[in-house]
């Protein structure tokens, strides 16, 4: 896929969205439940580095979100750029933004929502997505189309947040090649420091502690399992989210807590991410 052509498309999508309202935002790496209000648009531009003992890769992705209904949101995520991706780990670059080279469309359905009092919300969501265009292996083989399913439940308030979720991504085989199945679980705890509990329109900052556990099956290349692929990772780390009216910025990093990787794969040094968000 020629990513150069995707820059103007992503920019155009971000610019032509009609005036609408905005909704809350959540963690960087883990699954979350908030959906856009009906008729609302959002734009997320994310930059991520996955560093390992062999160097690592950079990736940039653009996500456009639209609220079909206050409990149903559609998103389209496009790759903007990727560097040194020959040995990219089989992992989603943040549960909501997909794998590095893929174009991904998703629906997020908030099927459960309770608002028991002022400033408090409990909710649960299901996510279904389809992706294509990703590559894998040192020779950048076509990973084929993939199905992504996930579920998440959580709590949001003026003081604390938490979300627990999990999902999986399954690729279709393409001529003897198949990206290994990926299953994952995420946990997020968030805290709004007292100094940032001032009322709107004062700036709103939150701190998160995020954890991601991933298991990937071995890739298959020319019908043979790739010994240097797949394995298990548990990563955790902090992130921070700042919100100013229609703008948001979030940054965070995950470090490995435990890794059991197949073959001679390098261990993870860290995953770092920076995202800029705008609600139209």
């Amino acid at each position: 896929m020629n990513r150069t052509r995707l820059y103007p498309l992503a920019l155009a999508l971000a610019l032509v969205a009609p005036a609408a309202q905005s909704e809350g935002h959540g963690p960087l790496f883990g699954l979350a439940t908030p959906t856009l209000g009906a008729g609302q648009w959002s734009s997320d531009t994310g930059f991520m580095r996955m560093a390992s003992g062999h160097g690592g890769d950079w990736r940039a992705r653009q996500m456009i979100g639209y609220g079909i209904h206050e409990d149903l949101q559609a998103t389209l995520t496009l790759p903007l750029d990727q560097r040194d991706g020959r040995r990219v780990a089989n992992a989603r670059g943040g549960a909501m933004m997909g794998k590095p080279g893929a174009v991904e469309g998703s629906l997020l359905w908030r099927f459960h929502r309770e608002a028991p009092r002022i400033g408090v919300r409990r909710e649960s969501s299901l996510l279904v997505g389809a992706a294509d265009g990703d590559t894998f292996g040192p020779d950048a083989r076509n990973a084929g189309p993939a199905l992504h399913l996930a579920a998440v439940t959580g709590y949001a308030s003026r003081t604390t947040y938490w979300w627990l979720g999990g999902g999986g991504q399954w690729h279709r085989a393409e001529g003897g090649n198949r990206r290994g199945d990926l299953t994952y679980a995420t946990a997020v705890f968030g805290w709004r420091p007292p100094i940032f509990r001032g009322d709107y329109p004062k700036p709103d900052w939150r701190l998160f502690l995020e954890a991601v556990a991933e298991h990937a099956e071995r890739d298959r290349r020319d019908g043979m399992a790739d010994a240097d692929s797949g394995g298990y990772r548990l990563l955790a780390g902090p992130s921070v989210l700042g919100l100013f009216g229609a703008w948001g910025v979030s940054a965070g990093v995950l470090f490995p807590v435990e890794e059991r990787l197949n073959g001679s794969q390098p261990g993870t040094d860290y995953r770092a991410k920076l995202v800029f968000t705008y609600w139209f």
Binding site: G37, R117, A156, Y200
Partner: protein, 161 residues
Amino acid sequence: MKTTLYAVLLIAAMSGSTSVHAEGLVHARQVIFGMDCAPCAYGMEKGLKALPGVRSVTVSLNDGYAEVHLAPDSATTLADIREVVRRGGFTPKNATITLQGRLRLSPRSSLSTASGDFALNLGALSESSAALQGRRVQVSGSVAADAAELIVERIEPVASP
């Protein structure tokens, strides 16, 4: 002389036909459950400001409400405000509102406005309101979360234009 008189009468007639008086919702303080963050409030503020006739909107996250002041003869109703809250993904609860319109006491108490009739529960004010039958009044009170009836706490006559 006659030309001047005609001009004065014409100006007087035009002034009468274009005078604006408030009839409908003039103020609402809608309690909202579920708003936790700045973009929630920002979106609510934008959505409410987009309603016809809205002059100002104040949103509070910590106290959980949106306060709306409306221009005279605004077509916006409390139902419109609550729909904006729902479409934002939040839950509208009780509201405190102020309405202006003509008081009707039979067959049941209601306020007749440009946007339609609004059911009133006058309670202890029923007796003192009898003298205001058919007159333009301003009523203030509360409306429960899933109700459309205004529990009146205050009623006073409004001078006609």
